[in-house]
């Protein structure tokens, strides 16, 4: 079995992740922030240590400015719905996932002005196009760090500089990069960073969050119990409580903390280096195959560990089915929840076959995958 669907969720997870979750479930189990007994405090430690690890990963100075959410979609909704008001302008790119596009289209119906800047057919963005799209009412730029369809990496630091110079906020969707590609909220001028826990940060599903720069106030996405200010019927104004109503996914956060510490211990450079090498091998193996079209810039320095392709005369779903049935290779096929991205690269409405790897993928698996696709394409 070869799992090549890590851009959907990473598998396998490091053993330490499973151990941390089991340890919490078996030995701690309590809620945090409500009671004050030792197990409640232990649970609080787990949550805080997860914040700390993420703060280290993204160079965030105050771990309390990281808000935990159920996934990156919720984090993006909190950021965009919490910040944008009617008549505000927002700029985004044409290769965004629906986790950005759908909330923006919903906000558009409420009077927010949405400008979509076109990327090249290889999925790249020219920072000057962002600069040119800025209007008097523009308040926010929303970008994904890397496309979930073709893996192209966007010039975040350059756009962050543009945002800073024009007094705009930058919201980054790091779903495909957090843990696999360096992110520094200071160096890149990121004001709001939405991340998922279950991909390259190696946590379980149901984890994710939002970093909110000091001085940025958002309207909460939900209101409710926080364990703090219990005498008050109004939502507290301090972080993280303001945005973390209700019991957190503590078992998930135990796993996420272990996942991020795993990434920190292995070293992001090592992880990125290995994934680059594997991606290059995959690109080398596929680009010269007759009847196979590989999408994107084919530039390993500007691509994360995912490769999208099609085989002449076959629908992506047929390729995916053959890979699974005959070769036990698992991938994702179709539109990958990003219609605008497919229009940009010219694969709408058919979609692509997407192979996505992780730190746990081996060279042997890449070799077998290339072999299988070679056979399918030559039939």
């Amino acid at each position: 079995m070869i799992y090549m669907d890590n851009a959907a969720t990473s598998y396998p997870k490091p053993d330490v992740v499973i151990q941390a979750m089991t340890d919490y479930m078996k030995n701690i189990g309590a809620n945090s922030g409500r009671s004050s007994h030792r197990l409640a405090i232990e649970a609080g430690h787990i949550i805080y240590e997860t914040r700390e690890a993420i703060a280290e990963l993204f160079n965030i100075s105050d771990p309390l400015r990281i808000i935990f959410c159920s996934n990156v979609t919720e984090a993006l909704n909190l950021a965009m719905r919490g910040f944008l008001k009617p008549d505000d302008g927002v700029i985004t790119s044409s290769i965004e996932h629906n986790s950005v596009m759908r909330p923006l289209r919903a906000l558009e119906e409420e009077g927010v002005e949405v400008t979509v800047v076109n990327c090249s057919s290889q999925g790249f963005l020219e920072p000057r196009e962002i600069q040119a799209a800025i209007k008097a009412n523009t308040k926010l730029i929303v970008l994904n760090h890397a496309s979930n369809v073709i893996g192209s990496i966007l010039p975040v630091a350059e756009v962050g500089e543009i945002a800073r110079q024009n007094d705009l906020l930058l919201l980054l969707d790091a779903a495909q990069t957090g843990g696999a590609y360096p992110i520094d909220v200071e160096a890149m001028n990121i004001d709001l960073l939405a991340f998922t826990g279950h991909k390259a940060m190696y946590g379980p599903q149901g984890t994710g969050g939002l970093y909110i720069r000091e001085g940025v106030d958002l309207k909460p996405l939900k209101w409710g119990g926080t364990g703090s200010r219990s005498d008050e019927e109004r939502q507290p104004d301090f972080l993280p409580d303001r945005y973390e109503s209700g019991t957190l996914n503590i078992v998930g956060l135990a796993g996420l903390g272990a996942g991020v510490r795993f990434v920190l211990a292995e070293g992001e450079d090592n992880i990125r280096g290995k994934e680059k090498n594997l991606t290059q091998k995959l690109l080398d193996g596929l680009t010269n195959l007759k009847g196979v079209t590989v999408y994107g810039g084919l530039d390993i320095d500007r691509q994360v560990g995912l490769v999208s392709f099609n085989i002449d005369g076959l629908m992506p779903s047929e390729v995916g089915f053959q890979l699974d049935e005959e070769y036990e290779i698992m991938c994702r096929v179709g539109l990958h929840c990003a219609p605008a991205a497919h229009k940009t690269i010219g694969t709408f409405p058919t979609g692509t076959v997407r192979l996505s790897l992780s730190y746990f993928t081996t060279e042997e698996e890449i070799g077998k995958t290339i072999e299988a696709i070679t056979k399918i394409a030559s039939k």
């Binding site: 922030g33 004050s36 949550i47 914040r51 703090s228 301090f238 972080l239 409580d241």
Partner: protein, 75 residues
């Protein structure tokens, strides 16, 4: 030997209390997370107890690390 007298730092958020605990432990100040004493109204269920002689060290360490506190009381 006299039993030390204690002070407590109250925080708005449990997570802030835990952050403070970590920072003060690293600064080797003797502290313990305890339930907020009943006679002190509070913003969260736990607070940090310290030996009252360390009050200045507690205050300056937390301030230097930008930890927001609600109030400080002597027990």
């Amino acid at each position: 030997m006299n039993k030390p007298t204690y002070g407590v730092v109250l925080f708005h958020s449990t997570q802030a209390a835990i952050k403070a605990e970590k920072i003060l432990k690293e600064a080797e100040i003797k502290i313990k997370l305890i339930p907020v004493p009943r006679h002190l109204s509070s913003d969260c269920g736990i607070c940090l107890r310290f030996e009252v002689d360390d009050v200045l060290a507690v205050k300056s360490t937390l301030a230097s690390k930008n930890v927001q506190t609600a109030r400080i009381h002597q027990l």
